[in-house]
């Protein structure tokens, strides 16, 4: 394979990895906020994709203009998810939340199938189509837009978490909800906020993925598993780790698959994850301190 192809594949992997990173960030947000895995997270990504498809039908605008409205609608879905599938089970072991979110995922998946049908759908293009060529590779504008939008959203996410009072409060609730309440922070509201933000990120990822890779009702579980792997590789509960983990997963999917073969890449990813777990059970980048099991 020539250098141009390698460059091309690296570019593709980066674009895919950036979209996965948004998925993983939302996933890790809920883990940090409530200490439980949201099994419906992949289905939220799928829902975001279909919402983008529907929005583009109503208003045929570039995806970038649809994005703000999508974020709002998805955030509302996240609040509902948190209120229905988490709050009633807040005092139960995390496995109860696993199952409640599995149930919500089933509803989302079949709801999408009933509303939109089973056919894969293409979301709206983010920007005007086109590409630049250079160094033997084609840099698709959509993929570049995916990278840019992901970076902006991940950056905004980071900014909110680290630079705003809202973000600090969210992280304080995640670290020690009781202490946060003693500081005057409404823990329930912030937990719902975490679900809202996670769903919004998932929806954004859904929009970004839907144009290039299409969206089908059944793809949620696969995306959830990828996010799960990314989050554990990156160190349970670490924001930066989740992003790097997502890039790692995408690199396997594209680069290792190109080097060897797709099924082999999949098997090797499994092996790599196991190796990481056995050698460094706290993840490649370590686990956040003071996590709640």
């Amino acid at each position: 394979m020539d250098a141009g192809s390698v460059l091309q594949l690296g570019f593709n992997a980066l674009s895919l990895g950036c979209a996965y990173a948004l998925v993983a960030l939302g996933f890790v947000l809920v883990i940090n906020a409530v200490g439980a895995v949201n099994f419906a997270h992949g289905d939220l990504v799928m829902a975001g994709g279909f919402l983008a498809v529907a929005a583009a039908q109503i208003w045929p605008a570039p995806g970038i203009l649809i994005l703000p409205a999508l974020l709002v609608i998805m955030a509302a879905m996240g609040v509902v998810l948190g209120a229905v599938a988490y709050l009633p089970l807040a005092k139960r072991p995390p496995s109860a939340v696993f199952v409640s979110t599995i149930a919500v995922g089933i509803m989302l998946q079949n709801g999408a199938n009933a509303l939109f049908g089973a056919a894969p759908r293409a979301g709206p293009a983010l920007v005007v189509p086109g590409h630049w060529t250079g160094a033997g590779a084609a840099f698709d504008r959509q993929s570049l837009a995916v990278i840019v939008v992901s970076l902006i959203l991940a950056g905004a996410f980071r900014f909110v978490l680290t630079r705003t009072q809202l973000g600090r409060s969210l992280r304080a609730v995640a670290a020690d909800a009781e202490m946060a309440r003693a500081l005057g922070i409404d823990a329930r509201l912030h937990i719902l906020g975490a679900f809202a933000a996670a769903a919004a990120l998932a929806g954004a990822a859904g929009l970004l993925l839907s144009q290039r890779y299409f969206v089908t009702p059944t793809e949620g579980t696969g995306l959830m598993l990828k996010a799960y792997i990314a989050v554990v590789i990156g160190g349970w509960g670490r924001w930066g780790g989740a992003v790097l983990g997502a890039l790692f997963v995408a690199a396997f999917e594209v680069l290792v698959a190109a080097w060897l073969a797709q099924p082999l890449a999949e098997a090797l990813l499994c092996a790599a994850v196991l190796a990481v777990l056995f050698v460094r059970p706290q993840g490649v980048f370590g686990e956040t301190h003071g996590r709640r099991a």
């Binding site: 895995v37 099994f39 229905v84 599938a85 009633p88 089970l89 139960r92 995390p94 496995s95 109860a96 696993f98 199952v99 409640s100 599995i102 149930a103 919500v104 995922g105 089933i106 509803m107 998946q109 079949n110 709801g111 199938n113 009933a114 579980t221 598993l225 799960y228 792997i229 554990v232 349970w236 099924p263 999949e266 098997a267 499994c270 092996a271 994850v273 196991l274 777990l277 056995f278 059970p281 099991a293």
Partner: protein, 589 residues
């Protein structure tokens, strides 16, 4: 068994009624379709029963149960459709294959905890799926293996419909009986303790790693059996049999039915296999209704339907089973062979930059009560953890009855004859006070027996309970013995924990703040019991904040200040020691 006797065995009557109702429905009320759903529910019931060992009883979120199911199904499909082998051969092999796979991965995987364990098992399952999809010569690839015939044992073929449903449910019945025998009584208590209170379990000498290993293999065995039956029921085994949705169904059934009850596995499987069928009338949206129903079930009965029914049944029963007559322990208290039941030699422990215990040398003589005092943060708890194996010292040695146990895990130290209580009482909340103590009685004779995954008779637990009543009464807990631990007030919990530790007849009994939450009268009674135990030869190391209480019972008092032993001597001497007063009242500014 008399009618009253049947009522006494809590699960027997409803289970019997349930089985009869199920049988009547299958035999008279069900058409082929209903029998199919019933049979499918049966295979899942077996799968979930297996899953309960690892997920329910030991609380480890394995995501490999679906893979075990798939491996069993593929083993049956390959053996019976390729080689036409008899059920009597293919079935045991189908159980063996996942068990062997589990045994291979167990050592590294079981070291991992919580979500790391979950992900490792998930990734292994994904790996199995990739292998099944791509090793086409063996597995038929994505097309799978068709032509798995009906169950055939010798000349006897089990026909589709009622015979197969009966066959599956006989297997469910046998599996349930075995599962129940494995996890009821003392073993069940031991698993509950390992799951909910791992520290207390280690203090009782229970080996968590060993138990998890066994549970993982058992779950694989049940998964393989369920997969084998599934193969015969479907006639085709394709990768869908090993894909993630199988695992998701299993987990959902276990949570909705009940994590650690055999009946929960059956109820969960029956309900979730039938739910989508009930909603078929909604046609294209029936799975949305199914999801909503599953969500409602987990919200309304978060501890599982089995427990919901159990509570309702408990409320219906007006009388409670008679408890066994208290009996004195048959074994004599252990005697230390050397003068020091427990000895610390220059033991040190540091956390980060802080030295919590700093070169402490201390002997606990057999038959002596040694009090440990010191302000909060002075290192008492760390010292106790070092002495009982709950923390490994950074320097120095620890010996029990003259034998070096430095660095041994807590359960091994406990097995040498060290018992302890915890500052925050560490009881199995869902068990009665009596059973909490009975577990210690059962664990005294061979704690390894409780977690070796072999069926046990009923007798053991009855004898343990009888003895536990004696211990509990001795520690003033007679009137609370039937109550669940979580319903007990703090003082009663302390006493149950003390009784539990004492019931192990230890060489060394280590008590961490046993007096907290006790009334004056209770403390007096406790002091009396401790003196008796000491007279029997037990060495007692006791830390408490109530110095009045300590000085009254101690033979010697040791005072810690910031990790160092600042005083050791008779209560009178220590009481007036300036170093002790300084340690307690704080250094003047």
């Amino acid at each position: 068994m008399t009618a009253r006797g049947i009522l006494d065995a809590p699960p027997a009557l409803p289970l019997l009624l349930g089985a009869v109702a199920l049988g009547a429905y299958a035999a008279f009320g069900a058409d082929e379709y209903a029998l199919r759903v019933l049979s499918t529910a049966g295979t899942f019931a077996l799968l979930v029963m297996g899953y309960q060992f690892v997920f329910g009883h030991l609380g480890a979120l394995s995501l490999a149960q679906g893979a075990f199911f798939g491996l069993g199904a593929y083993a049956t499909a390959i053996l019976s459709s390729r080689y036409g082998l008899d059920f009597s051969v293919s079935f045991p092999v189908s159980i063996a294959v996942p068990v062997i796979a589990a045994a291979i991965v167990a050592a590294p995987v079981l070291r991992l905890e919580t979500h790391y364990f979950a992900l490792a098992t998930l990734v292994l399952a994904q790996g199995a799926l990739v292998a099944v999809l791509n090793w086409e010569t063996l597995t038929g690839g994505a097309n799978g293996l068709p032509g798995v015939g009906a169950v055939r044992i010798g000349d006897l073929a089990v026909a589709r419909g009622l015979p197969m449903a009966a066959f599956v449910w006989c297997a469910v019945g046998l599996g349930a009986l075995l599962a129940w025998r494995l996890v009821h009584g003392a073993s069940g208590m031991a698993f509950a303790c390992l799951r909910d209170r791992p520290l207390a379990a280690a203090a009782l000498g229970l080996d968590g790693a060993h138990a998890r290993h066994g549970a993982f293999l058992m779950s694989a065995a049940y998964g393989g059996a369920a997969g084998a039956l599934h193969a015969h029921l479907s006639g085709v085994v394709s990768p869908e049999s090993i894909e993630f949705p199988v695992m998701v169904s299993c987990l959902t059934m276990a949570v909705i039915g009940g994590r650690a009850r055999v009946a929960g596995a059956i109820i969960g499987a029956l309900l979730l296999a039938h739910l989508p069928e009930w909603f078929r009338g909604f046609e294209r949206t029936y799975l949305i209704a199914y999801g909503a129903a599953a969500l409602a079930a987990v919200i309304l009965a978060p501890a599982g339907l089995a427990e919901l029914f159990e509570r309702a049944w408990d409320r219906l029963r007006t009388h409670h089973p008679a408890l066994p007559t208290p009996s004195r322990p048959a074994t004599a208290p252990r005697r230390a062979a050397t003068s020091a039941a427990l000895a610390l030699d220059k033991a040190s422990k540091r956390f980060g930059g802080v030295v919590a215990v700093d070169g402490v040398t201390l002997d606990l003589k057999a038959g002596e009560i040694l009090a440990l005092i010191g302000a909060n943060g002075s290192g008492k708890s760390t010292l106790i953890n070092l002495a009982t194996g709950f923390a490994a010292p950074d320097g120095g040695r620890i010996a029990v009855d003259g034998e070096d146990v430095t660095g041994d895990p807590a359960h091994a130290v406990a097995r040498r004859g060290v018992a302890r209580t915890f500052q925050a009482t560490d009881l199995v909340e869902d068990s009665s006070a009596l059973d909490n103590v009975a577990l210690a009685c059962a664990a005294r004779v061979g704690p390894e027996r409780l977690t070796n995954w072999r069926p046990h008779g009923r007798g053991g637990m009855a004898a343990a309970r009888a003895e536990a009543r004696w211990w509990l009464a001795r520690f003033g807990g007679a009137q609370t013995e039937g109550q669940k631990a979580r319903e007990l007030p703090a003082g009663a919990r302390r006493l149950v924990e003390c009784a539990r530790a004492a019931a192990r007849n230890p060489l060394a009994l280590v008590l961490d703040e046993p007096g907290a939450g006790l009334s004056a009268a209770e403390k007096t009674a406790l002091a009396e019991r401790l003196r008796e135990l000491a007279r029997d030869g037990t060495g007692i190391l006791i830390a408490d904040h109530d110095t009045e209480f300590l000085f009254a019972i101690a033979d010697r008092v040791a005072c810690l200040d910031r990790g160092r032993l600042v005083a050791l001597g008779s209560p009178q001497d220590v009481r007036t020691d300036p170093a002790v007063i300084a340690a307690y009242l704080g250094n003047a500014p």
